[in-house]
């Protein structure tokens, strides 16, 4: 009966979109404080997310806060995979030195059921009963608010993984205990606007988003971005469909008649898949500028022709060619070896491209713990504020100290047919997927063009510019 449970039904798909795996390191302008070193990685041949050897006793306790049941259960599944992958590696290496002692990572499943009341309960259970020091999650910005609130109340660290809403870090909701390490809606909108402004190929845009806070935010920010970076652009139409709509035909007919050249969408699955599938079935061949429309299974079912030209935005992948260094190749190979062994539910196509983007997020947290040498929240905060960390693909992230948002460059990638994928996948078999178009050339949006939004009313940021790291 409940139509919008899903607000959170979050990114059900999750993995695919950001799964742009290992790519060559950029020339880091500033020296990074730490990086992920593939050569130190443990032997991952025993890794199985279904049977994660969860240590007990005196451990570093981290709760994975996500939806593990209900229609959006796939979110929790993905989270679990990312976290166990990184934790398995560290545990195999003997754990992290904390408070003068090597300690293993212990993970907890914290099922929010996409409900605020349940989220509060489970977060408190984790903190108060299990002694968890870190809450890592969650899907849906109101759930993240609850998570952050709980962290603030009991003085533990909360890391927001995938909620792009900006008000999570605004003056009203900011908590020193909460960090945001992915990207924000304004960064998405501005990245695309900057890209189109540089490319100057298309001029007429159609905006098609879901009718709730996130969708409207995505649309607003894209429009703002266009004003800033591409003033000549024209918005020829703007529609918001309800969540989990079943029939997109009326919208598609409208788009066809509007003369648009690109459709910008913030939809996530299942809406993203249905929108794409129905568009193609109805002969609408325009490219979608999207962030969550990359479900490999859907793409495969649509075939190469229908998927060529799609544009995905991501805060992870960098330039071509990828797999330049032996480390990246090794990392990718390790991942794919593990994937081949996966049993349900992890054996699905969603993970076919790898899961390093979000596993890296978790690794950053672990690295911060290691360098703080403590699980004490205050020490973690001190270490993380202003920290820089280099991911396996050379992507560098910087945690802005005053509002805990992440400064980073972003990427727009165009989907190309398998025979052209070699520019981003330059090891055999030289394509990401032979069933559909996938990542081709990547366009880099410099970090200073897409600085995260900073609330001018936030006391801690008074007198600072968005580019100030500390």
């Amino acid at each position: 009966m409940k139509t919008g449970k899903g607000i959170l039904m979050f990114f059900y798909v999750f993995s695919f979109f950001f799964l742009l795996t290992a790519m060559s390191p950029i020339q880091a302008t500033a020296a990074v404080k730490a990086k992920f070193d593939v050569n130190k990685m443990a032997d991952m041949s025993g890794f199985d997310p279904n049977n994660f050897p969860n240590p007990t006793g005196d451990t570093i306790k981290i709760a994975i806060v996500a939806t593990f049941s209900g229609p959006a259960a796939a979110v929790g599944e993905g989270f679990w995979l990312y976290a166990t992958w990184a934790a398995y590696d560290i545990n195999k290496r003997g754990g992290l030195m904390v408070d003068g002692k090597k300690k293993l990572i212990q993970l907890f499943k914290a099922d929010t059921m996409s409900r605020p009341d349940q989220a509060k309960k489970i977060c408190e259970q984790m903190v108060l009963q299990e002694g968890v020091k870190f809450l890592w999650g969650a899907d849906g910005s109101h759930i993240v608010k609850i998570m952050n609130q709980t962290a603030n109340k009991y003085k533990v660290i909360a890391v927001n993984m995938i909620s792009l809403s900006e008000d999570l870090q605004d003056a009203k909701n900011f908590s020193p205990y909460a960090f945001m390490s992915w990207w924000q809606t304004s960064q998405v909108g501005r990245s695309f606007a900057y890209y189109f402004g540089q490319r100057k190929k298309e001029k007429k845009f159609y905006i098609m988003c879901q009718d709730y806070v996130f969708g409207h935010e995505m649309a607003e920010n894209f429009k703002k971005g266009l004003k800033e970076y591409y003033p000549e652009a024209q918005i020829v139409g703007e529609d918001f469909h309800k969540l989990f709509a079943t029939d997109y035909a009326p919208y598609i007919t409208k788009i066809k008649a509007s003369g648009a050249e690109v459709i910008y969408t913030g939809d996530w699955d299942p809406d993203a898949t249905n929108l794409l599938k129905q568009s193609r079935a109805m002969g609408l061949k325009l490219p979608f500028a999207h962030i969550y429309m990359g479900n490999p299974a859907t793409l495969a079912s649509l075939g190469v022709e229908a998927t060529t030209g799609l544009l995905i935005g991501s805060p992870y992948s960098n330039g071509n060619p990828a797999f330049k260094t032996p480390e990246q190749i090794k990392y990718h190979k390790t991942m794919m070896d593990a994937y081949k062994r996966f049993k349900p539910p992890y054996n699905k196509m969603d993970y076919m491209l790898g899961w390093d983007p979000l596993a890296m997020e978790f690794s950053w947290l672990l690295s911060v713990i290691e360098r703080a040498g403590s699980v004490d929240a205050e020490k973690i905060i001190k270490t993380w504020e202003g920290d820089t960390y280099e991911y396996v693909n050379g992507h560098v992230k910087t945690m802005r100290a005053c509002d805990h948002n992440t400064i980073q460059e972003t990427y727009i990638l165009e989907y190309v047919p398998p025979d052209q994928q070699r520019q981003s996948f330059n090891i055999p078999p030289y394509h990401w997927s032979d069933k559909s178009a996938l990542y081709g050339p990547a366009f880099r949006v410099p970090a200073e063009k897409v600085l995260p939004w900073m609330d001018p009313n936030l006391e801690r940021c008074k007198g600072k510019k968005p580019s100030d790291i500390n």
Binding site: T3, F68, S69, L128, H142, K172, N173, Y212, V213
Partner: protein, 325 residues
């Protein structure tokens, strides 16, 4: 003698409630608060559904009005006292009930149920759509939780979970007591009369539509109270809580506990919360457990636990067995 035992039981209950945080720790204290909020919510629907047979399957609307009322009062009015916010929530629920009551007294049975599901769906859509007012799916959050303040005497910090627990127990306890008292007044008798036989109530000289409207408003007000307590407890109120699913929740709880009995919704809420808690801890299939629980309960105890209790008592010859409603 009997009176003395009653008083002793009350005192034990009171001491028990005071000691809960000491014995069980903050987690279970908060677990108890959310259970109590659901119990008051369920009881407010029981008054309508169980006592008066107003098939209100859209109770989340009133819960929502309570939540939005309290949250917006705190967010917009500086210096709003905490009890004032609860009162705003109560008024919100009551007001919506007042507005809808002319419709509700006109229809009964399945049509009434459908009407409520329909209005609930509309309300939910509006809660999603009117973002400036409701914050949509993200909800209203970050509003200040003021201290409990009696000027010049006392000021207690309500962001402390322990203090909030005592506040919640007091507010919810008083709400529960008021509803109990309500069912014990002469009007409470009329209410049950309307459920069993509205025609006869009319022939006894009582106005049925007006009485139904009053029950509806009282039920709506207390749903408002529980909604406002929910908003204060979570420090967030999102459209999520006004969905149709949230209307079914208290109905299910009431049914499982025993509809039309005062203790039923309380038992039902407790049972549901505990089953859910256990299911969540020991399985990953919470929905399956809840679904099977519902099916089993309805097949084997169609009148809920109180009905089962009464049937068993009847079997042992201690009390007559009542017909089903």
């Amino acid at each position: 003698m009997k009176k003395a035992i009653k008083w002793i039981l009350w005192i034990i209950l009171g001491i028990g409630l005071i000691l809960i945080p000491k014995i069980f720790g903050i987690y279970y204290t908060n677990f108890f608060v959310s259970l109590a909020i659901m119990a008051v919510f369920s009881q407010s629907i029981n008054i309508e559904l169980g006592y008066t047979r107003i098939l209100n399957f859209g109770h989340a609307m009133f819960f929502g009005m309570g939540g939005y009322g309290a949250a917006q009062a705190l967010a917009l009015i500086p210096g709003m006292p905490i009890l004032g916010a609860v009162l705003c929530g109560m008024l919100g629920g009551g007001l919506l009930a007042l507005v809808l009551s002319p419709l509700v007294v006109r229809v009964s049975g399945m049509a009434c149920a459908m009407l409520h599901v329909a209005f609930n769906a509309l309300f939910f859509m509006l809660a999603m759509k009117l973002r400036p007012l409701t914050g949509g799916e993200d909800g209203i959050s970050g509003f200040p939780i003021p201290p409990f303040n009696i000027p010049g005497i006392i000021s207690i910090d309500m962001t402390n979970p322990l203090n909030f627990y005592y506040f919640a127990v007091a507010v919810l306890g008083i709400s529960m007591w008021l509803m109990w008292y309500f069912t014990k007044t002469p009007f409470g008798q009329i209410m049950i009369g309307i459920r069993d036989n509205p025609k006869r109530v009319n022939y006894l000289g009582f106005k049925v539509p007006e009485s139904r409207a009053l029950v509806y408003i009282v039920g709506g007000s207390f749903a408002g109270v529980s909604g406002s307590m929910y908003a204060l407890f979570q420090n967030l109120f999102s459209s999520d809580a006004t969905s149709g699913l949230n209307s079914f929740q208290p109905v299910l709880m009431t049914m499982v506990g025993g509809i039309g009995t005062f203790i039923g919704p309380i038992i039902g809420s407790a049972f549901f919360s505990v089953v859910e808690e256990l299911a969540r801890r020991y399985t990953e299939r919470v929905e399956l457990v809840m679904g099977l629980t519902l099916i089993i309960v309805i097949l084997f105890a169609p009148m809920g636990f109180m009905g089962l209790y009464r049937d068993l008592k009847a079997r042992w010859g201690k009390a007559p067995s009542l017909p089903k409603i």
